[in-house]
Symmetry: C2
Subunit: 483 residues, 2 copies
Amino acid sequence: MINKEFLARAEELKPVLIEEEITIAGSDRVLEDGDEIVFDFGNHYVGYLSIDFGTQGNHPDAPLMFAVQFAEIGEELDQDLDAYHGWISRSWIQREIIHADDLPCTVKLERRYAFRYVKIRILSTSSNYSVIVKQLKACTVSSADESSLKAVKMSEEDAKLDKAAVRTLHSCMQDVFEDGPKRDRRLWLGDLRLQALANYETFRRNDLVARCLYLFAGTTLEKGRLANNLFVRPEVECDYQTMFDYTLFFIDTLRDYYRETQDRKTLEDLEPVCMKQYELLSECFDENDLIDVKKAGNIFIDWNFTLDKQASGQAVWLYAMNDLVFIEKELGHNTLSIEADIGRKKKAALSLFDERKGLFVSGESRQVSWMSQVWMILAKAVDAEKGREILEILEKESDAVGMNSPYAYHHYIQALIDCGEKEKAYAKMHDYWGGMLENGSDTFWELYNPEDPSASPYGGIAVHSFCHAWSCTPAYFLRKYYY
Amino acid sequence: MINKEFLARAEELKPVLIEEEITIAGSDRVLEDGDEIVFDFGNHYVGYLSIDFGTQGNHPDAPLMFAVQFAEIGEELDQDLDAYHGWISRSWIQREIIHADDLPCTVKLERRYAFRYVKIRILSTSSNYSVIVKQLKACTVSSADESSLKAVKMSEEDAKLDKAAVRTLHSCMQDVFEDGPKRDRRLWLGDLRLQALANYETFRRNDLVARCLYLFAGTTLEKGRLANNLFVRPEVECDYQTMFDYTLFFIDTLRDYYRETQDRKTLEDLEPVCMKQYELLSECFDENDLIDVKKAGNIFIDWNFTLDKQASGQAVWLYAMNDLVFIEKELGHNTLSIEADIGRKKKAALSLFDERKGLFVSGESRQVSWMSQVWMILAKAVDAEKGREILEILEKESDAVGMNSPYAYHHYIQALIDCGEKEKAYAKMHDYWGGMLENGSDTFWELYNPEDPSASPYGGIAVHSFCHAWSCTPAYFLRKYYY
């Protein structure tokens, strides 16, 4: 379903991207067929590249054919790109094969790339000439304005974490909040929610949050159900897929936005969308007010197919409903029926608590997982003291299903803070996100397994996104809770 | 050396290319990774392509990565392009690998191609979508104006030959007379001379001939020596290489141009350039007035490294000097000294005639070749009757070094005509050029060996030019001598 007014509002809010030109010197090295050379821009950038080629020898009598690869981290450059045949499309690998007909010349690449490194490999010149890369120029783009970034004096260690988080957010801020500027370059509700949190503490580009909310509200699925992500090119169109939790995060993101901006017009416009989701998702529960995972469909929670999502799904609903009550009250609506519903479903949630284990369990297998506990805490199904207790027990539960993504870790850190475990949250955050920096990254990743940083669920890191929105929240945590 | 006035004149004469839009329908076939589809434009074109892609399935969630190959003849499509590692740069192979980020879309390729066929191979989509090629649009370019082409009523067989010859010339006529629009896309003196001849009988784009003469005169090597070819992009610059015969053809080409146009200004401007070549090449002869092939440097004559070029080189000099005498006389200059020089060198040429064999021989090995006889006839070292006799003897001389290129065949046909053997010339022309048409080509080729049409001196036909200027002269022969 299309809501033209919402899409028109989103269009009004579309930012003009801020461009910055970054020029780096080339090399005196004379390059012949098969030669490779890597250039380092010194930081993570998103933008357009042009390459100045000079020649040596006689007038070029054949086109130059070269390959160019863009890499967010150095390790990408060592991959055998042709060997990648994983399930994520290999068209995401940032590389081109280009012919330049008339040399010397400046080759201006048309596509946008996310990169720190640029590797150029000469595939074919002729016996008459060789080439020199004289200069590389990047026209970088972002809707994040560096001059509006709040300066905060931090310890050296914290500043490092903050810098990479801010850079991650910066690179993902384009004409929408993208999940990753390398891949998928798309607006996802789950990522948006975390980006918005980091944005409020950093660039405060709040109009971009509003734009993204209007985009989701402007293009919905059957009956007005929010999609989990949407496309903005060539036309705005929502994806066909939904996720139970992502749908609910619209409510939370709107509530956060309103708290930050007091923008009552947007709250009024979008409140019916929240109520519509509440209404549609009410069908996902069984007669005991417990979520029916089959009816609920896809629930994300973490990049983890073995995770049972009953408990965490139930918790996310509770979590979002607290926000809905806030919104409804703010607009003077009666919330008695919603609150009664929350009461029933909170009770159902608590039925998942295994008194013997002292932990929440999920599904028929009564699975114990980190995410189930974390989300029950975030949903305030238990109080802070109980939450603390749960998290302590959890650490000793070696069979518990763990966390796979920075997205899951974010919620763990937030749960620790919500329980008053600020010091532990701080240490865990440094452990986890700091590990990515040790791997020489300027930004935080889509996926990070501290045990095996090069592991890939996709069949190869060539398609990994090493600058990924949902990983940018150390800037939010540090700035909101520690400075 | 640069002559700015000449280059300025060449720039004034630069044609505005005539553009024509050719649209062909795509296909309903739904293409997935690995699928290939070939489109046929039905004739040989030079120009720019855009491809309309549609999609099937869900909204594309990953870029489309596809390969596109352009082919002048069908056989090119069957080549293993990656297997080509010959000495001609593989950057000439007309292919690209392209990523399209936002689908559906029109992909507009930036480079110019020479083609009849376009093969598209889908390299990567995603599990969410497939593609359809909806339409291909070519913006074709040429400086040849079809509406100015002289209509001549011919027999069906002749019309076929003429059509392909005219198409070859048409595709090679760009902002200069190119040798081949696929490869090398460059102005060569040897090709220019033959293109000009065909042009006078067809498109009569005589300003383009003048432009090319001014370009050669405007950018010369040391002491004003003409290069054998020149580049016009990114700036006009002559190549560093010379050829004894190509240098001399400047004189012949100017003389032909003047005969066609009576453009006295150009004749006056460029006569000193002719005299300069005469002067510079006088150093290439020994004390017996015979060409010293070491001093003469590169002499082309044919694509043949075993051919001894003493006799044919001597003959080309004589051939061009007849033109120089004409030019000098036309401008009222004294030609006594040149004519005396011609007399001496003609005598030397005749010393290469082996009375026992009844043929000209060349070099220390006293090599007998077709080219030596042909050029001595064209140079009028012998009269028509003697020429006829020589060509008859030659046919029985099975050890004689033969002809490798359409360029060499052109001179053989001309020699036959010059000797009054018009019927034989006609039959030989049909045999040779007709063979290329039997191979399904719309144009005539750079190289053609009737015994083995797929043979390549380059190590693969992937880099062959199947529309090559020096092969366009059947249009000249038919229109000048037979209609």
